[in-house]
Symmetry: C2
Subunit: 497 residues, 2 copies
Amino acid sequence: MSTATPSYDDLAAHFLRMHRFGHLGSIVSWDRAANMPPKGNDARAASMAELAALLHRLRTEPTLGDRLSRAEQEPLSDEQRANLREMRREWFLSTALPEALVEKRQLITARCEHAWRSQRPANDWAGFLENWRPVVAIAREEAALLADKTGLSKYDALMDRFEPGMTSAQVSRVFGAVRQWLPGLIDRVVERQAKDAVIEPVGPFPIAQQQVLCRKVVAMLGFDFEAGRLDTSTHPFSGGVPEDVRMTTRYREDQFLPALMGTVHETGHGRYEQNRPRELLGQPVSEARSMAIHESQSLSFEMQLGSHPGFAKVIAPMLVEAFGEQPAFEPGNLWRLMTRVKRGLIRVDADEVTYPAHVMLRFEIERPLIEGEIQPEDVPSLWDAKMIELMHLDTRGNFKDGPLQDVHWPEALFGYFPCYSLGAMYAAQWAAAMRRVMPDLDARIGRGDFAPVFDWLRQNIWRQASRWSTDELTIRASGEVLNPAFFKAHLEARYLG
Amino acid sequence: MSTATPSYDDLAAHFLRMHRFGHLGSIVSWDRAANMPPKGNDARAASMAELAALLHRLRTEPTLGDRLSRAEQEPLSDEQRANLREMRREWFLSTALPEALVEKRQLITARCEHAWRSQRPANDWAGFLENWRPVVAIAREEAALLADKTGLSKYDALMDRFEPGMTSAQVSRVFGAVRQWLPGLIDRVVERQAKDAVIEPVGPFPIAQQQVLCRKVVAMLGFDFEAGRLDTSTHPFSGGVPEDVRMTTRYREDQFLPALMGTVHETGHGRYEQNRPRELLGQPVSEARSMAIHESQSLSFEMQLGSHPGFAKVIAPMLVEAFGEQPAFEPGNLWRLMTRVKRGLIRVDADEVTYPAHVMLRFEIERPLIEGEIQPEDVPSLWDAKMIELMHLDTRGNFKDGPLQDVHWPEALFGYFPCYSLGAMYAAQWAAAMRRVMPDLDARIGRGDFAPVFDWLRQNIWRQASRWSTDELTIRASGEVLNPAFFKAHLEARYLG
């Protein structure tokens, strides 16, 4: 086949091949979380490491630099050029880290994470610290290498892998603004909700019924069950591939809201994946834009739509059908249940109002930690001070519900936390943009007509994939770059309106 | 690391690496059958083809021949030497087929198999024949290349991949003996059973209860659920890896015996896999000996043990617990239900007495077909003649329950069918060997004490894996090579005793 773009075509084939190996990795990862019996773990880990090593070799193939340069001279469409930009980025970052460091990091974090599983329940900060010091050391080493290569600061270089183009200066600007008004807003919301009479739902809520309900809600939210599944795992997540998205959730008999809202959250991730541009699948330009943009989709579903009073109206009769009539299912009461704000120690249990406090606290600790401005042993006292400041909660000596609570730090996932709250802010910005073009949006949601939400997201986010930088995507979708004022307006309207 | 066997060690690492990639393939294959939604199929097929191509390259690496020869000069243990023999065999066979032929075969069989799915229900032999002629042609081409390489006849060269060392001369000898007495034995058994009063079980048998029952039976049969699973798929099979065996079965509400006995069958495969020598996993010598030996394990479970009157006694109270009391569950009646013999058109529905007739018929057709002695269009009339001869059943014009019934021929799986009945014969030979050393075996089975069966199989079959040739394994386990007299004695004792 003769072509005017031989180097580009050859690269596209190379990346498609990596994508196919990645497909296998996605499915066996999902299987590990959803299905694998305990004795399968070692053989699975060895097999996945073999695949990771293969992918690393393919990603860092020595000839790729020249091939990229040659392709850049070819007559390409804008889309192909965007694809080439993403290819170059992937190659550039992969070659920054020597394989020995990648392997060493893997060993050190696996040891720390494994011990953490028992150290956390034992509240054993001292024991954790011993394994965590080498984790921080190797993360700094990794950050230094990436910083050298990219010209970014160390922390920014780590964050850039999850959130391309985002800098800690920008995060500080955004979080700095939120920090001004959030503690006061939490106070006012908590005070105001104290006067609400909320009727608690009465369980048990049989898991079989919860599963049926969740599947119905997922289908109502437009997830294509012909191209994906909903299963159970200890830690809910969304994985698989766009043609076969694997979402998981977890159930407990005494409550139905966590599984239901968790499922709504994963459905946002799932629909983004299912609606990435099919004709480009396998190419880097078809990948999801970033972790914050991904999170903006799950939160568009869970918070903007799923915690909307109109959604409570739609869901109420489905609850009656699933569990029988009870006073708690009255739509107004249901909505109050869904939007109850409560200061707490645990990030993953937090509501949308207090959640950013958890994230800002982590950002304010992990950034200086990676930059070498503070040391691992300084973390607990900083944590305590910030928890008092942001949430009026005393956490002294309670490491397990403090700096030991997340798996991110034992795993050296530094630079990831900000994405959660950036995602919430993007989601608020998308909702505001929708309302500008669709003034009757809220009424339509209340009638169970969610199509306008999905259409807007499909057009502005899902189909765009990695065509544009995050800032350009945001401007095209909403007229400006990330602006936390939309998030503030959303919280005020919903919780103080 | 210095070592006295550098070439052997290097080969062992190479084969371990292939094994790990194979692990990924096993899990995604299982997932495709058990979980994958329909729209995931194309991407999955492409990803699995990518993995197959990688494995083919690793298997046929040009340096392997020299490395094998060097390793053969090293001071190896008997076990290492057996491993090397299996490595050489795998390499030797893999290099026989050019990649172009493998790819062409894949395309031709995929087309034939895909069309067959609708041609079979439509009874469309003429339509099928059009796609099947190229399938037979490429299978002959493949057979000719393998025959050139191995010095075997064409059909034997195909069969040798599933059943190393087995020849059509040996199969003809064995099947020839069976053919002498089987049709008469079927006649006598059917006549004798006509007098039995058998009470039919009364359904429905809720699938949830069947699942609980099957799990209990599988656990009772010693399957380790910490190293495997039991799930549902359209076509029951056993897959996965020894550390994580994935068995599947299928349920229907109106009957419980097919799912139960199918599960017992798969558990035989599953325990063989789970008990292959752990310390050698990843090396060819640890692989299951052959397809017939694998089938001898599933049939040791399903037929020798699972259809034993003592097993019916053990299982009867479990049925009462699962489905409530009913007259059909009386142990004697239950056993008559389990061992009912009925001539039929469909191989997969056949009982153990008539099953060999289905297999011999296929062997007698596919062997001359591959050798070029008959042509694809000759198959239906041969089928009809042999069905009359073996089973007194007229199948003229009924292609869908005749030569169109199996997926093997559309997929060019020639040489596989004999393994099913060889497996049944090996299983009878194992049971006879067990009884020689354990005269009280039947009484112990009746008391639910199955440990002697498992211990014998573990010691003589499972732990031996591919240490010996099939004939040597058989002699070591039972004192002689395959002897169909044991199968005859088993059927006579069970059905005419």
